[in-house]
């Protein structure tokens, strides 16, 4: 049984730079396509949405989701950084779709550290941007001069560790669930392969997937809030 990442193609950009088209990329494109279709449906549907009438159906669900997420973001990161809400909403939506796509037998993109680290790195850029934009002196002082300047290397390591820890937490959880389910499929008798994995998919893909998406997003938002001082 091989859990390794499959390579479908190699794109040679230069002699030294080659981009591998792996199943991570393919499943990412599938997730992108699903999200794009969903977003287009919402966009088309939104043309008939009337703010003066009581919302129902898809409008109700989307309004509730966006409103709840915005309140969550403002509650943890403050109002000053509210313009970053769409980015983190997209991150949360992308992670949910990426984590639970394993239910239909596609390898989750987040089971590859090559996917989780860029996402964590983008969050790292966001909370550093938030800190430098909202209170640059205090933010830099907090890293380099607190409690005293000799702690600066430790503080720097702490800051760098944030995206690494976040990326490994998500990667490990999703990969662990995927490996466990693959092992169950491998060792379970044929009769049980239609019953037992269903419950495990519910936990490892759906529950754990949603939970990890929420944890990753909440940590990113909390770091933004800490950095911006709100």
């Amino acid at each position: 049984m091989d859990f390794a990442i499959q390579i479908f193609a190699r794109l040679h950009i230069t002699d030294n730079i080659t981009i591998l088209i792996t199943d991570t990329q393919v499943s990412t494109w599938i997730v992108m396509a699903l999200l794009l279709i969903f977003a287009i449906i919402v966009r088309i549907s939104s043309r008939n949405w009337d703010a003066s009438k009581r919302p129902s159906g898809l409008q109700n669900v989307m309004e509730m989701a966006v409103d709840a997420f915005e309140k969550l973001f403002r509650g943890n990161a403050g109002d000053k950084m509210a313009f970053l809400t769409p980015w983190f909403f997209s991150l949360f939506t992308f992670l949910i779709f990426s984590n639970i796509i394993g239910i239909v037998g596609i390898r989750p993109p987040t089971a590859d550290w090559g996917m989780t680290f860029p996402l964590a790195f983008s969050s790292f850029l966001m909370f550093n941007y938030a800190g430098l934009k909202s209170r640059p002196k205090a933010y830099l002082k907090g890293i380099f001069l607190e409690p005293v300047f000799i702690f600066a290397p430790i503080n720097l390591m702490g800051e760098i560790a944030k995206p690494i820890a976040m990326s490994f937490r998500l990667f490990g959880n999703v990969l662990g669930g995927m490996i466990l389910l693959s092992l169950i499929y491998g060792i379970a008798p044929l009769a049980l392969q239609f019953v037992l994995p269903a419950f495990l998919h519910m936990y490892f893909d759906l529950a754990a997937g949603l939970l990890q998406a929420f944890i990753f997003t909440m940590l990113s938002i909390a770091f933004v809030g800490l950095a911006s001082g709100d």
Partner: protein
């Protein structure tokens, strides 16, 4: 050529592979923001603005109603003051009129009384004069009769009695006239 990669490796392929992954997510974020988040946010904002407008309008109406109420209360207060003032003035005028009517009535009654007293006194004087005249007439008549005829004692008494009856009748007639 290898067609599988290990689950985790810190090599060039991994880090180069991160670039399209990050780019993919940026594209997804752009799509989701433009196609999904912004339209929903726009509807939410429109609803929030409408509710805020309704609340503001209701607040304005409430303020306007409060001002109108204060204005009406002031008018009612002014009308009440005016009513009290008019009533006081009317009472005052009625009192003055009453006093005036009473004074006039008293004066008129006094006049009537005085006039009646004067009339009574005049009538009394007239009766007195009439009685005196009657007495004088009768006496003269008696004296004339006495002188013209010789009368005996019985005739004398009879003559005297007739004179007295005439006198009484004249006096009674005068008294009835005065009383009437």
């Amino acid at each position: 050529m290898e067609w599988y990669r290990s689950l985790f490796a810190l090599d060039a392929d991994t880090f180069i592979g991160m670039i399209p992954n990050l780019f993919s997510f940026i594209v997804v974020a752009g799509f989701l923001t433009y196609l999904l988040y912004n339209p929903v946010r726009r509807v939410l904002k429109a609803r929030a603005d409408r509710i805020e407008g309704d609340l503001s309008s209701a607040e304005d109406s409430k303020l306007s109603a409060a001002q109108l109420k204060a204005k009406y209360e002031q008018k009612v207060s002014e009308i009440e003051q005016e009513r009290v003032s008019i009533l006081d003035e009317a009472r005052k005028q009625a009192g003055e009129r009453r006093t005036q009517i009473l004074d006039e009535a008293k004066s008129e009654a006094q006049d009537v009384k005085e006039r009646a007293a004067r009339d009574i006194a005049t009538e009394r004087e007239q009766i007195k004069s009439a009685v005196v005249e009657a007495i004088v007439d009768i006496s003269t008549d008696m004296a004339a009769r006495l002188i013209s005829t010789s009368i005996d004692k019985n005739a004398h008494d009879k003559l005297f009695a007739e004179a007295m009856e005439e006198l009484e009748a004249t006096t009674a007639f005068r008294a009835d006239t005065v009383t009437a």
